[in-house]
Symmetry: C3
Subunit: 395 residues, 3 copies
């Protein structure tokens, strides 16, 4: 679990790589600034209140509870038997805090290249500190969705689609980047560094070993190792699915889509990594890879501008992965029911999307959410940060 | 073991960094595409058949066996006592699958900048899915070489030289890059990003802790920690050896050679990391560092164009490391014999080289192995992938 | 502990990223060369003598001891009960060797862009092989400072400020880079790649989990997990502190300062990660973030040119973190005394600074420490290494 926590931390570097690599060089510093502060805010707000909102100690399954400000070790918190799992209170806190910050990072990628930094930071504080943990408490805190039989092993819904709904709200409120949709055409803005983005995806896959492996919440080597196999098979099948689909749709060897396909495959098996057979994991991942390409095309058709494809990866495939548990999953009691999965997707989606929309709209009508047209054209780096992302002087 | 598996996965990012960093910016996306799909193909083919070819359950030591398609947990597969080691069936599969893909990645680097992507992918499926596991079964599956007393702790021969022979076959069939050898001169093509290559080498070293540490195949902390010490001493001595040798040969502080020296040192101690004394590890690594420089010079003299030095690192030093076990190695029964090492090197080499050559030649006379002259000159990225690796706009 | 060792190794990649990212593209290869050879030299000299200088087996607390050249496993060295901790002799060696090389890497960043490579390498051999371990033996080897009650959990003083004093000595002897201070103005030289620097900081944070987590020197999950929480809270608070302070001082969203703030927060809690409360960790980290900005401004006022801010991060905040133990820290016996902390800072500082100054001065008056003015202007890469760090051809 401790090692898993460290790996999940590294996912924040992975996201930083993907987002900075896939966006324009004039905004690189801005993106890195957001992605550096996201885990900072995530960990601090989770210590301040998020953790105690997420694990409020419901006496009967409920929708809201809060066990007070700041983290404090309970009796027996340093023992590895804390909460009946093979981990301590402190490991649990850090692992969950790293997870929480992930939800905000997903938003960060989608809204990149035009959001005001101050607005993003305020959104992150509220989304990670309040919205995410309350939704999470419904399942992982033993709340109402848990009582209903909703299953989400490592967060296809609770982490990925919650983040994805936040991202969707953000791009709706912000609108597309200048020049993205012109004269009925979709213009791609070339990313600054494909190696950086590729490195990011590999680090995310690596971190996912911690994300899914650690979600076993014990050190049972049989289950942990099985989960890593389904996780990896999902990632591979996702890459294959999007490779094939992108070949049909775009008629090229599309590295961006293959990389998003890896992530899609990972998201697709995150809800059911422990209840899928190996073959199910391949199928779920493969369909995830298909969906991520189709979703990206569909969003562009709707003129919804997602700078790095975060909505397609985390929302579209997050929903798919959660529903797949109700299709393929089986546990000791037999096949898992579909209805609780559908309810869970709907309830969490409604909550996440409406809260995120409210926050973004409130920001829009107060301090504003979007940088000026001039700043956007010239790049956020020179205006807000005073330095450039790359200064490579080839004599 | 589970952690070791994750570290070995990260080696694929390391290879991606080394290969993309040391090759030209016009081919960066192509290389990353290959290196992303290599573990994808490796894991899927290993699940489909490779694992069951490698561990066929020989009843008497043999040369070929196959226990059927697709992975399936045997009785007791989730227990940590699977196969008498301290790991589960699933850990074993994933660890070996990560290894397997490494062999193809070695080929990828050598043949970069002129191989057709489709041909490379077909080669990888056959090499990782069939050739590598059959050769591996001779030793690690309890086959004929194992019965002979051949020793290869973590794969100087079974992984590195097998990959190296595949790379050699590839560059022989492909021929050198356009303009590499002109008017009796060797022209170096500058790599796109030395930081990326350096990062790759550090990640490979880091991953090697998993590669060699995990090959103990148990969690015996005494042996694992000892192996990490010999591994690190080998890496350091390799760097020192190539630093000195490159200083003599090229009269400069050659970072490329020092980085390849680190890898050479690692390969040199991979076969005997558990049977070398600390001083042996230093000597073996140091000689490995010498050899990698001499081999690179020799290959260029033979007009064998290896884009990243993969043949020198993995084949030349892989052979050296395997033979070094017969020179320095000693176990509980005393000094280890030299002859089985020599036979192992020869048998595996003949098999790997002839199979790889056959595959490459079959591809050459069917769909072709080399891109057109125009594509090679203009770069593979714009033709096959439609995007560029770097888009850094300095106002 | 074995995993922790691997993570600490990765810190060397983190330092390489920070230093190459924050310095000019004409010196990139030179910096990577230094940072590749630093762990190489560190591990080899530590094997040769450093480890035996650091753990000399003092019979009574002393100032100097040496238990002979080269590492050799003592009786029981392969057992996990070695030295009463939960680790083996070999793990202990490798972990400490990785630490030792860190001290030299700190110097490397400060003196970058104008130091002669050969002089740096000689300095590193002496500093890592002799100076660092002797100072370290005073506390961790059971020497005189340990007997005095000086407390330094994971090396705010013994690693960070020792490295920082070496860095200060280096920049004093070398003088500032050409053009850094002109006409009463401080000129910033833009770093080659902010993504690379950011990646470096994330990897350092990740490695710090090993650095501080491993310093528990046992696998007690309660304490290890607690230490990772205080470590992460310190990092977050440091980032926040320097974000706010830089906003006041420089009136911009200064990513460089936020990144150094993360490192400052980590250094600030390194001496007391196990004896701070969570709130103390936040306060100590936050003040560390303040100090790193103020220190950078002060050094520039003194015309002390530190290419990456290493003195501010490691020396200034290293001292703060050590003293903070005497302010906030408490253990089973109650509040920890302030005086031994002050003495430890003073004694180690005097020793490290005078030794480093002596070495640098001796080098200055023999082979020279600084490259020629021409080389410095044109960049060290083309002169000493013959290649460029980046070769990105945008058609």
């Amino acid at each position: 679990m401790i090692v898993a926590t460290a790996l999940v931390f590294l996912m924040h570097l992975g996201f930083a790589g993907v987002e900075a690599g896939f966006t324009q060089s004039k905004n690189t510093v801005n993106i890195l600034f957001k992605n550096t502060l996201t885990p900072v805010i995530g960990i601090l707000t989770f210590a301040l209140m998020g953790f105690n909102l997420m694990y409020p100690g419901f006496e009967t399954p409920g929708w809201f509870g809060f066990s007070g400000f700041w983290i404090e070790s309970p009796a027996g918190g340093s023992s590895v038997d804390y909460a009946g799992g093979g981990y301590t209170y402190w490991t649990d806190f850090l692992f969950q805090a790293m997870f929480a910050a992930t939800a905000a990072t997903i938003v960060s990628g989608a809204v990149a290249e035009r959001i005001k930094l101050s607005s993003y930071l305020i959104f992150t504080i509220l989304f990670v500190g309040v919205v995410y943990p309350i939704i999470g408490s419904w399942k992982w805190g033993g709340g109402a969705l848990d009582a209903l039989g909703f299953y989400d092993f490592a967060g296809s819904t609770l982490v990925h689609s919650v983040g994805g709904w936040g991202a969707l709200a953000g791009i709706l409120v912000l609108g597309p980047r200048l020049g993205k949709y012109m004269n009925g055409k979709v213009n791609d803005f070339p990313g600054s560094s494909v190696p950086l983005a590729t490195m990011g995806v590999f680090l995310l896959w690596f971190g996912w070993f911690g994300f899914n492996g650690g979600s076993v919440l014990s050190a049972d080597p049989g289950l942990v190792s099985y989960v890593l196999v389904t996780t990896s098979l999902g990632a591979c099948a996702g890459a294959l699915g999007s490779f094939i689909m992108a070949h049909f749709v775009f008629k090229r060897m599309d590295l961006g889509m293959v990389l998003n396909g890896v992530l899609a495959g990972l998201v697709a098996v995150t809800a059911g990594a422990d209840v899928f057979s190996t073959a199910d994991a391949v199928i779920a991942g493969f369909i995830g890879g298909f969906l991520v390409v189709l979703s990206a095309v569909f969003l562009d058709k709707m003129k919804l501008d997602d700078a790095v494809g975060a909505v397609s990866v985390h929302l579209t495939v997050g929903i798919w992965g959660t529903l797949a548990v109700g299709i393929f999953g089986s546990n000791a009691e037999g096949a898992m029911p579909f209805l609780p999965q559908l309810i869970g997707v709907g309830v969490c989606g409604a909550a996440a999307f409406s809260c995120a929309s409210l926050i973004f709209l409130a920001l829009k009508y107060t301090i504003g959410v979007r940088v000026s047209e001039e700043h956007e054209k010239e790049g956020l780096d020179s205006h807000e940060h005073g330095i450039r992302g790359y200064t490579i002087i080839l004599e």
